[in-house]
Symmetry: C2
């Protein structure tokens, strides 16, 4: 059932014991929104537990309250309300079965499955953290430095640090309020940009293998399984391809296991979601992905044939 922001705030006010969760493979918005809500609800005197059914990436260690996040264990969690943030019902792992409580879902993804008991969805918001910012207003709780840092981080990560097309005047004004409340842009950005020496070296090594074709309109990084196994992360690699001035489609192909290649594409104009769909994948016009069950060379040839036709 769709409800309003104020009704969502009322649900939170009425509950005493609240469990907050977000999607597996948690990102800055999932974690920032969850911890921000935790801090706000603590101020209201609620008993709050944050459960996420996945490992928390080290990069988010700077988020105030990160140490309270737990994985659901075998026990049942008693709560008056289970809050799902930045996610639909299907990507929260075992939290729902461990916590039998009415479900309040707060999300900004237009793809939300609308299966929760209560859903507040606003697809015009760049991040769920923006909705948590609005909830603070509806709950009449002023975010402290901890909550502000978490909200700021959620907005910053989901907008590529205020660089993507989803960045709105609302985003910037909410971020302004959060800086006023204590969030420090340079602290958040330095924490998120940190890389190990090995990661910096790996990335440099990978970037040297970028291949360009179709008069520079297509550029790709094709990482075989041998190389893939030596990498700690490939996060951000595609951005290093995308920035090439002639590029209309940027490709990152990783042979994640022998004979299985995961593909990410970013475009400037070309509809890459339809290319991804032709391989059983999906996404948006400017960002899409798919998996091709072939060794690297064969997967690359098939994909390039499709991309060359599109550009």
């Amino acid at each position: 059932m769709r409800i309003s922001l104020q009704e969502a705030a009322d649900k939170l006010r009425e509950a005493g014991r609240i469990v907050v969760t977000a999607h597996v493979n948690p990102d800055g918005d999932a974690l920032g929104s969850s911890l921000a809500l935790y801090h706000l609800l603590q101020k209201l005197g609620k008993t709050v537990q944050v459960l996420i059914d996945d490992d928390i990436p080290d990069a988010f260690g700077f988020l105030p309250g990160i140490e309270v996040i737990a994985k659901p264990d075998e026990e049942k969690y008693q709560a008056d309300l289970l809050v799902l943030l930045d996610v639909s019902m299907d990507r929260v792992g075992r939290v729902i079965e461990r916590c039998p409580a009415p479900i309040l879902n707060i999300d900004h993804h237009i793809t939300n499955d609308e299966k929760a008991d209560y859903l507040y969805l606003d697809a015009d918001r760049a991040a769920t953290a923006e909705i948590v910012y609005q909830l603070a207003g509806a709950l009449q709780v002023v975010p402290d430095k901890a909550a502000a840092t978490c909200i700021y981080t959620g907005m910053s990560t989901d907008t590529g640090n205020f660089r993507y097309s989803n960045t709105t005047p609302f985003t910037m004004r909410a971020a302004a309020d959060m800086i006023e409340a204590g969030a420090e842009p340079h602290v958040v950005s330095e924490a998120l940009e940190k890389r190990s020496f090995k990661e910096v070296q790996d990335r440099a090594r990978a970037m040297q293998t970028i291949e360009v074709c179709a008069d520079g309109k297509i550029a790709g990084l094709y990482i075989g399984n041998d190389l893939y196994e030596t990498l700690d992360t490939t996060e951000g690699f595609i951005d290093g391809v995308r920035i090439i001035d002639t590029v209309r489609v940027a490709i990152l192909m990783k042979e994640v296991e022998p004979g299985k290649c995961r593909v990410s594409m970013r475009s400037k104009g070309v509809d890459v979601s339809s290319i991804a769909a032709s391989f059983g994948g999906g996404g948006h016009i400017r960002a899409a992905g798919c998996t091709i069950e072939e060794p690297l060379a064969a997967a690359k040839a098939k994909l390039l044939a499709a991309v060359e036709k599109a550009v």
Copy 2:
């Protein structure tokens, strides 16, 4: 003579023919501020000329009005007012001698030489573009999309896209207004992030040579003259060093000609300006630079000795 923002606006209102200039080696704030003021003054019916005594980097080709910027030639320019933006009297090249008019200086650098006839200085602003934004208010001109894009670009570049510690709530709210007026964050950021394929390859090659010492506290990129001569740019290289998680001092050393090394340092805590000063350079606590008149190996040894003592 120091004047107020409103007095600066009045000077602009009173003048009919206005020449606008900014510093040599122009960056996004110099160009964005100059062109924004150009657009605003055009709306007031002024005759405006933008002169910059240097080449304009291709990366700024997307700025609306960039084609009106000229280098001063041999002629004298007749004007009622010469406006110096984002600069002191000493870094505008030949513009002052070619344009004998009263000088209005608008700047955010605390190091301003205060030699202009009229000076509006606000060192609390992250960018001169923020002051131009305020001037639009004082002049009662609503920025159009062109002016908004220029102001947004100036703020974005001087704050490292809203990541540096100079980013304030004021910055974010002004940026919000500029997005509302037509500035597009993703268009500006994509334009500024663009690199040639060669630049991407060069950077990857350079990044592979990062050297780490002092238990990872010092990381440096040391570019000999042979390699330096093959590079189109070293812009952003130091950021690739700075992000290493263990690093307290990041170094970029470039042998710009045989026997002459230019050094940039970035720190997290350590005062690098005093290290730079010991080699005749200067800067801020977290960002400083100097030149060492030695071949690469000797310059590196001298610098590392000083940095190791500091960390």
